[in-house]
Amino acid sequence: MRTIEKIGLGLFLIGLTVFTVVPFFGTYTLTEELVLANTKDIHQEKMAEILAPMYGQEYGSNFSFLSAFGENFNTYNDNLKAQQLWDQVIWDDYGFSLAKAALSSPVRDNPWLWLGLSIGLAVLGGYLFNFRQYAEEPAGIKNNGIFHSKLKNKGWLGMITGGYLILFYILLYWFPAYLVNLVWMVEPISRMLSGGPASQWFLYGLVYTLAILVMGVRMFRKYRGNKYQQLRTASVMFFQTAFAFLIPEILVLLNQPYYDFKNIWPLDYDFFYDYQISTFLSGGGMGIFMLIWGILLIIVGVPVFTYFYGKRWYCSWVCGCGGLAETVGDPFRQLSDKSLKAWKYERWIIHSVLVLAVVMTAVTIANYFSGFSFLGNVTNQLHSFYGFAIGSAFAGVVGTGFYPFMGNRVWCRFGCPLAAYLGIVQRFKSRFRITTNGGQCISCGNCSTYCEMGIDVRAYAQRGQNIVRSSCVGCGVCSAVCPRGVLKLENGPEENRIADLPIIIGNDSIKLNA
């Protein structure tokens, strides 16, 4: 390892360590004023009463504060639940906002400093580690040592990385109150962008975007000399930074609805939720435009673009989940399961999620147009089930946390309902295919090994067949790693797109159909 890489790695690890210990800093003191300021009008009085025993007490850690909060709050709610007074139960979770308000810590006092020491150092270190990679070597893709790596071949480093990611997602989705220090750290950036306070989602969005940018630099180095890889990496970096991160925040600053213009239902599963629809409808011209734009993407954008270019136009060029998978996840792409069995599971699971998303949305819309009389309660339960099981657990915890165990496209391959929709179009009505170059395949297996979607590319290539698969996201890595120039991503006529050649080109002994 060169000096610059060692320095980079060192800085990254320092930053990561600071990021990891920062949540435990500071003390928490709750007052009535804070409770009143951070609860909804209808709950203010009640909450102020419930939490009264906590006022003025200084809690030394987030654990003690949140445990005291939980005790008081749950006692109240459990009582009501036991008496079946469901309408009096407070369903809102004020843990995060109250913890954030009650915190006093060096991080809150000096957010820029701590931001620099944690995320700043990690980003700088990551950049220094990446930006000169392979500088002394001629351009070309180097997969050297990947299966000898402790990180990239499910070794102990991979296990730790996966465990850390999983823990982070669990905290982020279900226990964000433990992360308020980190949220305070990014507060000034949020104020600058949207004018509003930071939430855990702002923290996540910032970290997510920076991760894509830093690891995007790694992609530029790793795939030097491969323009296709360079361009699609630049594309996901751009769409994440501009469309997913900056534009929605700036829209808020301009008093417009928060909206990611490239997020498409059913990946964007709450697009048709009633509160989302009313946001659009009350958002003036811009809101209406967003609603129409979103619907056009679903019914026109997806089929048309996928017909001409395959689902790659979205999955490996635009999508945020894809963006993370293709940058941060790239070192793990070889871990996807290529077996026929995995393919069978994949088709069952992903299409089930699609059906679930469609049914949920249909019920939601029916409910909306019937004035909330159609299965109102069921709709809410469906929403919370989907949000928990698919939106959080599958897409987040499994989708990213499992990178080091099952490869970088677990969510995209097994779970994403939009990928399923794009895939159906790609499989049955598209000009896209991966062309096999005649008889040049030597069955070496590089293509299959490095396919993040677990497609056994070689099975097709060695028979001279084109690869037409609904799951292919068109990342182009099979083509990039092929040592014999066998694979090419192409858009071409639908005729003969799927063909089975019993005898491979170059053998004149046997005349077929002669």
């Binding site: 299966f147 008889g439 991503l489």
Partner: protein, 450 residues
């Protein structure tokens, strides 16, 4: 009547292609494939990637293990010690026996050793089999301060790349004036030679191995070259070609020369015994541009396809189509279609050669005196097999080939359109009634430039 028992010795590309195709056409034949080398078919050409950590050995196996049972292809792990042709019986090294009705010998090759002193020392080896790979991992596990590779062919350069992964300095002894120059024309050979040097591999042209020296433990400590130089090394790779792996068949009633002698139907001198792949030696070359022994992955596959047809349907003689091949020299990919020998007579053959200023991309097309395409070499970019198969078969004029070269391009999207430069260069040199292709708008905007 019980179904015939087809026994194939060797589970490489030839043997396995044969087994698969026979099973496709005939569900009755009992098929057994014997190998002492590995449990399952694997891609021999991928062994280098296992060494370099690009893949695990399992990844080199093109079929999952259930495939064999599902297709009723029985696998037997054993080395065949001898064949009793009279009794149609195989004898394994365990002493166990197996009878056959039809026998196919597909035992592949073994690395050449030309009787160099010290060629059997510890730390000296070739690279062909799975066992060779395992041996190489063992041989290069401890401190190897320098390795010497003998023989400038495809396996030699692969071995150099493998050792470079372990940061082991390599001296590469090549007998010829240029790398692989019995196959590549001078310019191509030079291009690869330069790239080898760029990778800090110490390439020594026109240098042969004279002797390998031993230390007190019977391990290699140095080599002496034909120029009298002594090079200290702890590893020697012998990669001066391969020859048929048929020693266990010598001195039997089977006719064996360098390989097992076969006719155009892969028939040996003994009925119901056939040979395919690297180990077969044809009576006559199967085509004008072919040799009597074909030692390439692709030819092995075609032998398997053809013999399977012959065992199940009306036999046809083996007739290869337009030649093609490919390789990768470190970072530079190579493809060839048709006939491009290393030398030719200028009076009979016209050559068009274009090389990019980077010195890593080139294109050569040979034409006969009538200007019709004979074959091409391309380095550093990709060209389409079907295109050239058709062009060469239909004897297109060189001009027509070049005029349509954009259709032959097989590089990924946004790559530099080398074909435009090639078209311009051809037009400047040979003239021609065509317009070089234009960059598309998207290509101009985002694409790599030449």
């Amino acid at each position: 009547m019980p179904a015939r028992h087809l026994v194939i010795i060797g589970n490489g590309i030839s043997g396995i292609t044969l087994a698969r195709h026979v099973r496709k056409m005939d569900s009755d034949t009992r098929i057994t494939v014997i190998s002492g080398e590995s449990d399952y078919f694997f891609s021999r050409t991928a062994l280098m990637y296992v060494y370099m950590g690009h893949m695990k050995f399992e990844h080199t196996q093109p079929y999952e293990s259930w495939f064999w049972e599902k297709n009723r292809i029985e696998l037997k792990k054993a080395w065949v010690q001898k064949v009793e042709f009279g009794e149609r019986t195989l004898v394994f090294d365990s002493g166990e026996k197996m009878t056959y009705d039809v026998l196919v010998i597909a035992t592949g090759s073994k690395p050449n050793k030309f009787g160099w002193p010290g060629q059997d020392l510890e730390g000296v080896q070739g690279l062909y089999s799975k066992q060779d790979l395992e041996l190489m991992e063992k041989n290069t596990h401890q401190q190897v301060k320098r390795a010497v590779i003998v023989g400038g062919g495809l396996i030699g350069i692969e071995m150099a790349e493998m050792l470079a992964y372990k940061k082991i300095p390599v001296t590469f002894l090549v007998r010829e004036k240029g790398f692989w120059d019995n196959v590549l024309p001078k310019e191509e050979s030079d291009l690869v030679g330069k790239h080898i040097l760029e990778h800090h591999i110490d390439l020594r042209l026109e240098t042969e191995l004279k002797e390998i020296l031993s230390d007190s433990n019977g391990r290699v400590r140095a080599v002496i070259t034909s120029k009298g130089e002594e090079i200290s090394c702890e590893f020697v790779g012998l990669t001066a070609g391969v020859s048929p792996n048929v020693d266990f068949l010598r001195n039997t009633e089977l006719k064996v020369n360098r390989g097992v002698k076969v006719d155009a139907f892969f028939q040996t001198n003994i009925p119901y015994v056939f040979a395919i792949g690297d180990c077969a030696e044809f009576e006559n070359p199967p085509a004008a541009d072919r040799r009597t022994i074909e030692q390439v992955w692709y030819t092995g596959r075609k032998h398997g396809e053809t013999l399977a047809h012959n065992l199940c349907k009306k036999p046809v003689p083996y007739q290869p189509g337009i030649w093609f091949n490919s390789a990768k020299f470190l970072d530079i990919e190579y493809q060839t279609y048709g006939t491009v020998p290393s030398t030719w007579k200028d009076s009979e053959v016209k050559s068009f050669y274009w090389e990019h200023s980077s010195g890593k991309v080139c294109f050569r097309m040979l034409m006969n005196s009538a200007g019709q395409i004979l074959g091409i070499n391309n380095f550093g970019f990709r060209l389409r097999h079907e295109f050239f198969d058709q062009a060469i078969r239909e004897k297109w004029s060189g001009e027509k080939v070049i005029a349509k070269l954009d259709k032959a391009n097989f590089d990924p999207e946004f790559f530099a359109p080398y074909f435009i430069e090639i078209q311009k260069a051809f037009k400047a040199q040979f003239g021609g009634n065509f317009q070089p292709a234009k960059k598309s708008f998207i290509q101009k905007l985002f694409g790599a430039s030449v």
